[in-house]
Homo-oligomer: 219 residues x 2
DNA sequence: AGGGCCGGATGTACACTGTACGGGCATCGG
DNA sequence: CCGATGCCCGTACAGTGTACATCCGGCCCT
């Protein structure tokens, strides 16, 4: 009831993000969102065509939180590093909403700010258009994948007793892992990985690869 | 009606996959699945605790389709290449179900077969446990991210008129892209990328990085 | 000032979802 | 022959997204 502020596309997305932060992405229903805004679910449809559109709006919101460093006097590598780490930080802070940042590309100016910053840095470093596009794609792929792994505790569930929901065929760790000896051997090393370290490892690996591009002379 | 075959965890997962292939992941409902199996929705709960468990089962199913090359006489790079390309091919063939392959790690022996093959190849090439875990993670991250990008036509929607579902604030391409000049410049290059080529580019980049690990002597 | 209008907000209704619960069934061990 | 034990299914319930019709409040035009 206190929420009698005027309804706004922005405000709706913010409140939706709050709800997702608390209850997860499936916990967001139009009715709950309407209630949280002090109205009903149908009011939202004045500003968004769909529930999907609301989700896309939430994605824009969190993407706009990513740092967009001005590249004055910064090595292009450093600019990319800052963007990537900031992206990761933002998605971890809104971990429940992270799938949205993966699914919906940045489209609004605010959400595109960090992309612009990255592109500009690469351009100043002498990358041609195609190399920039390529690098963007590789970096996006890497961060998406990293998030996907870090989210559901990928390796945690992987190490758990297999086939969690299946009622039959629970494979006994001891006996059946002898059909997959190497998997059994490596599992512990997977479990004890540190997310941040591994993220850095892969990121630097990619940056090194890019450096070779520029060394080879761009196009 | 013709479907009076005995109900089975496997058969349920297969039929669910078929339904997802046709109608997408949201098009799968327990009722439709039951009907397709010749029974009702509730019968499924004898074999799976949840709808989620069914989805995890579908994931195992498609993961088990990935090639698991025997590494006899193959360079480890070639083994990894085959696995990665096969993984990509399988996920593209079941493009609607691909998010499941990302969300649920392989747990059943069949689904783990390709992981075992990859691990074995790396081990024979002299990678220690930690390096194998690292490489697995990096490769998984890359393929997940690649899929995420290739799935929803990431760059296609990115290039489309912005904020598709929002009723207000459609940003006019010409005028507002002057606030994001570099983005505007690069967009065409993004649009004309070829998925397979870019996948190969990134994959080879990663493999080269791994080679440096082994050259440096493993640990 | 009065009347028309129109866009934002909402109430109701419908088709559909996942699944808890309780009963029916056939098969098998005693 | 009698239980009993899995498999199967029918019903019921709470909750979902949203189409559609309605309402209300402020603006413009005459």
């Amino acid at each position: 009831m206190p929420e009698r502020e005027k309804l706004t596309e922005r405000r709706i997305a913010e409140e939706a993000l709050g709800l997702i932060d608390e209850d997860g992405i499936d916990g967001l229903s139009m009715r709950k969102l309407g209630q949280r805004l002090g109205t009903t679910s149908m009011s939202i449809y004045t500003y968004f065509t769909d529930k999907e559109a609301v989700l896309a709006g939430v994605a824009q919101l969190i993407l706009s939180e990513v740092d967009a460093p001005s590249d004055e006097g910064l090595d292009w590598r450093e600019v990319v590093r800052r963007i990537m780490w900031s992206y990761r930080e933002v998605c971890h802070r809104h971990i429940n909403a992270a799938p949205l940042a993966i699914k919906y590309p940045p489209t609004t100016p605010d959400a595109l700010a960090f992309v612009e910053a990255g592109f500009r840095a690469l351009r100043r470093a002498g990358f041609d258009d195609q190399s920039i596009a390529r690098s963007y794609r590789a970096l996006a792929a890497y961060s998406f994948g990293t998030l996907a792994i870090e989210m559901n505790g990928y390796y945690a569930t992987a190490s758990a007793a297999a086939a969690p929901g299946a009622r039959r065929e629970t494979l006994h760790a001891a006996t059946l892992d002898k059909h997959l000896p190497t998997v059994a051997e490596i599992r512990p090393s997977l479990a004890e990985q540190h997310d941040a370290e591994e993220f850095e490892y892969g990121l630097e690996l990619i940056l090194t690869g890019f450096a070779d591009i520029t060394a080879a002379g761009g196009s």
